[in-house]
Symmetry: C2
Subunit: 336 residues, 2 copies
Amino acid sequence: MAATIKDIAKKTGLGLATISKYLNGGNVLEENRLAIEEAIKELDFRVNEFARGLKTSKSKTIGVVIPELSNLFFTSIITIIEDILRQKGYGILVCDCRTDEKLEYEATEFLVNKMVDGIISMPVSKDGTHLKLPLSKGIPVVLIDRKVEGLNVDAVLVDNVSASEAAVEYLIDHGHREIGIICGPKDIFTSHQRQLGYTQAFVKKGMFPRQELIRYGEYTVESGYACFKELISQHKSLSALFVTNYELTLGAIIAINELGIKMPEQISVIGFDNMHLAKVVKPRLTIISQPIQEIAENVARIMLKRLLQERVDEAEIINLSTKLILGESVLEKSLE
Amino acid sequence: MAATIKDIAKKTGLGLATISKYLNGGNVLEENRLAIEEAIKELDFRVNEFARGLKTSKSKTIGVVIPELSNLFFTSIITIIEDILRQKGYGILVCDCRTDEKLEYEATEFLVNKMVDGIISMPVSKDGTHLKLPLSKGIPVVLIDRKVEGLNVDAVLVDNVSASEAAVEYLIDHGHREIGIICGPKDIFTSHQRQLGYTQAFVKKGMFPRQELIRYGEYTVESGYACFKELISQHKSLSALFVTNYELTLGAIIAINELGIKMPEQISVIGFDNMHLAKVVKPRLTIISQPIQEIAENVARIMLKRLLQERVDEAEIINLSTKLILGESVLEKSLE
DNA sequence: ACTATAAGGCGAAACGTTTCGCCCTCTATA
DNA sequence: TATAGAGGGCGAAACGTTTCGCCTTATAGT
């Protein structure tokens, strides 16, 4: 049915090996090159990737396992990675594991069976059990955003502790003492890190963080909305709020707006992730901005590096820092 | 290196054909079945999908081409589709074409070269040029959300005209006359449909829609925010607003909140897409809700159907209807 | 003029499945 | 007892590449 390199060979009068060499970027006589190209066009020849894969054991496909496909932070990163990898001929096979460890394990095994050349994972599982299989098969793994302890694997991280610490310190420096924080799920790496930064900022300033001002939710809009309402109803004197993810921030903002609470007069807010939100909310939100582009580029770069070299040297751990982008949502509070 | 069926055959003393039969669900003596299963476990055997694909010409992979991976409506659908297809052994290869026709074309060709068994597309191109290639190769195509004229292809659509008409009619019935609408890009199918419904509602009621109350933007939060601000600044007397996509709605709500405009007292609002937003905003938003689950299920079902049967009969066009979900964001306005 | 070297071309074998056509064995029926 | 048919098993060929080792020709150096 479809044309094969045999057809091209027949049509051009050249040998199989020559056609193959051409296809793989080898040197071929100018004259032959033209003949081959013409034949390819004419017969609408496309390399059969099954056959190629069978010989080379390469699928030119990268598996991606993420907790939620509906989380904007994740998809923003994936989009960029996909872009870069596609230009190098790689496709991405995406699996959403719904923040479920078992599904994450199954998805990873599924991808390995689908012969992916590499795996990009934003791990849910704490110990990275799901990565044992690909690693044992020599399939390169690059982690995003969440580190797995005791696993010598490339990772692109964001310094969440410092990010969080900087935000809270900034609030403290502006005279705030009753600072609430809305975190994601308790057992997620980044969530924990951000809470840690909150605590550290207080400690650093010689104060004690108050546990009752810490709220854990899901990384969703609803959760941000609900957490803030609960927090403010129990602590009317709250003077500042730090929200640790885009969706949570969105929810909190909606709640603040709706309750008619003036920002920053009545409450100062620092949000998370430099996306639509900060550009849109008035007064402009002060936010912790994660370097999405940089994260994606590093992940893609490291993955491509691993795909080329088989000699596996030391894992590359990139720790990117966030930026505190000043808006007008934090008020200087004079301490009386 | 890795075990092959030859190894399984050797280990069990059975023939190649028998192992293959077992792997593909054929009948095998109970005794042999156990032996094979043990050997598979022991050798950690996994079918080599390259070899299988070479013989069967099936990759068990579906290509997905979408305009934006950061659009929640799209990703919500994809998540569900992925879930269903994965259970049937299919993986999805995702390409984001950034609402660009040329990229869409390239992405589709890329997917065909990657030997996908089917393609799911939310088309950007009006005439569906990008689909010619897969169709000519007999690769099933299922369209989502946007129809392509003059192409006999399965599609799962939403009746956007009626949806929009219903929303606007509802507003008119509640006494509103100065009704603004914020649409997506002018040349996108759904955007056009929604604008059409707006116009039809007025015509049906014997009135004329006012062009100056129609705004076109991007399907983004910023755009919704900007469009609303512009609209309200030019039409202070606006009494109601219909926003035609999730991100746009989000932007508009933030703007309304920020301007201190009371909803629904000063402005009645109908939003789009039943996600976080409607659940969170107070007073509860009245919205047009698209049947995301149903869309995804239908797409997956049709795709699976096409993958099984080779006889291609008439294209299946599903037209799902939206629901108007009542909240408290629309005020009954007495006509004086 | 002769040789060394480089550039390019070539076919055969191999990658690991599936499937076709054929085989054997066992049971049921005449 | 003879025979048909079902159930299960088997090896060889084929799918379309890549790559190894070898061959031919052209060029450069002496």
